[in-house]
């Protein structure tokens, strides 16, 4: 290439690089933070009762709370945990204050949905689980780690481009409860499971 032509082209490329850097930095600084709950649906029956920072220990954790008053006072609470350490039992203890023994808890593993825990406390039936961006749920640490490490090879390119994390440790902790006043425990479990399946089927992570 002609030397003076290359020098001119190079100067143009350097000016273009400076301009791209300025515009990208400007975009990065003014970019609004993404709503962490954008992928999760809000069902038409749900009535929002709380939408604020919920405190667990010293961490400010974002959460949403809904209820269906006419449906046996069904409560749905979703907390966004940026990095989940351990499983659901720690969250149940720190957030709900229930120190569950293994005999109080039924862990259900489902091939399509993942795993979730069912238990009864204070005349209410509870369903607790952790929804991962893979679109499946986990209850204990082993199940969650399996979701985090699932198909890592396919995550390399999106990770290099910054479109996703190589290992995604984020968890949407879902906690649902139903009053056991006019409903049998079996019916309550079916209601909670149905709500969980509806929620997962309408979640759009990709």
């Amino acid at each position: 290439m002609n030397q003076s032509l290359w020098q001119k082209s190079r100067s143009i490329l350097l000016i273009f690089s400076s301009f791209s850097l300025v515009t990208t930095l400007f975009y990065i600084f003014i970019k609004p933070p993404k709503d962490v709950f954008h992928a999760l649906p809000v069902m038409s029956e749900w009535e929002s009762i709380e939408n604020h920072k919920i405190k667990i220990a010293y961490e400010g954790i974002e959460g949403k709370k809904y209820q269906e008053k006419d449906n046996h006072n069904l409560g749905i609470e979703i907390l966004f945990i940026p990095v989940l350490h351990g499983g659901n039992s720690g969250l149940i203890k720190s957030h709900l204050g229930f120190d569950l023994k293994s005999q109080d808890l039924t862990i259900v593993e489902d091939k399509n949905t993942g795993a979730y825990g069912l238990f009864t406390q204070n005349n209410s039936a509870y369903l607790s689980t952790c929804l991962h961006s893979q679109g499946k749920t986990a209850f204990n640490e082993r199940q969650f780690t399996e979701l985090v490490n699932y198909n890592l090879a396919s995550r390399i390119v999106p990770w290099v481009l910054g479109l996703s994390d190589f290992r995604d440790w984020r968890c949407y902790w879902i906690n649902m409860s139903v009053d056991l006043e006019n409903i049998t425990p079996k019916e309550a479990t079916q209601l909670l499971q149905k709500r969980l399946f509806d929620l997962i089927s309408q979640t759009k992570f990709k």
Binding site: I15, S17, S18, L25, F166
Partner: protein, 282 residues
């Protein structure tokens, strides 16, 4: 006159300088640099600027394209990524310095920037990921506990130590992770390397500088640990969380770096005085 200024502004060295400054802002935003790492970048820029007239600033097509791809990758990743604590984000300074060097010169001449490359690369080493794999951190925490106990005992506190636990009668602290001197020690040694690359330091002075920086790291961190132990013993929770947090740690880090810089400055002053005092041989 205006044309002359305009022409000067669009000269390659000014454009490269502006790209370097913008990359510093980019890295500062994503890596949460402490003030010392910003100083490292400034030192690297200063070295390059001092020798700007001797530098070969003629890059070729291939090097320019690779440099542009690296910078474009950084910008794309920075704009779309929601994840800011992964290893790739941590090594942005390494990618930045590679990109700017390839824009500035041919790959065969990249060695002329070896000082700048070493200095900037030190800001892009993912220490927190490496520390997690190093078992020595635990041993350093015990040494820190011994130093803190000695300092507290010397000023008259009734203090005991078990392992990395420093106990006062009404409260105790456990030294672990980033509260140990490991972080500060690494930063001080890196600062020594920057001083040695920036100034011409004699070999014996280099050894002295490393010994001094090690003593400063343990001493300054020891004072911080003593302060935290006293605050815990006095049930001053808010003050404890401040000095335990990043803002409080930053003050001690800056104090340690200033102390090292002051010691080096005193050495230079002393040398100058000795040279001035010598009679001239002519």
């Amino acid at each position: 006159m205006n044309n002359k200024i305009k022409h000067k502004f669009f000269e390659d060295q000014f454009l490269l300088l502006s790209i370097a400054v913008l990359l510093i802002v980019f890295n500062w935003h994503f890596i949460n640099y402490n003030s010392t790492y910003l100083l490292f970048w400034c030192a690297a820029l200063s070295i390059a600027w001092q020798k700007k007239d001797q530098l070969d600033l003629k890059s070729n097509l291939l090097a320019t394209i690779i440099g542009l791809i690296l910078i474009a990758w950084l910008l794309f990743r920075g704009a779309v990524s929601e994840f800011q604590s992964d290893v790739i984000t941590r090594i942005y300074p390494l990618i930045s310095i590679a990109g700017i060097c390839l824009l500035a010169t041919k790959p065969s001449k990249i060695f002329q920037y070896w000082r700048e490359i070493i200095i900037v690369s030190m800001t892009g080493i993912p220490w927190e990921h490496i520390f997690a794999l190093v078992p020595t951190v635990g041993k350093i925490a015990i040494l820190d506990a011994k130093i803190a106990r000695l300092m507290l005992w010397y000023v008259g506190f009734d203090v005991r130590r078990v392992g990395n636990l420093v106990m006062l009668p009404s409260g105790s602290i456990k030294i672990a992770g980033v509260c140990s001197s490991f972080d500060l020690l690494g930063l001080m040694w890196q600062s020594c390397i920057v001083i040695c690359l920036y100034f011409a330091v004699a070999k014996n002075k280099k050894i002295l500088l490393i010994l001094c920086s090690t003593a400063i790291a343990f001493g300054v961190n020891g004072i911080r640990l003593c302060l935290m132990a006293v605050l815990v013993a006095n049930k001053s929770d808010r003050a404890f969380h401040y000095w335990h947090g990043s803002a409080g740690a930053e003050i001690f880090t800056t104090a340690a770096i200033l102390l090292l810089a002051a010691i080096y400055w005193l050495w230079i002053k002393k040398e100058e005085n000795i040279l001035d005092a010598r009679p001239t041989s002519s």
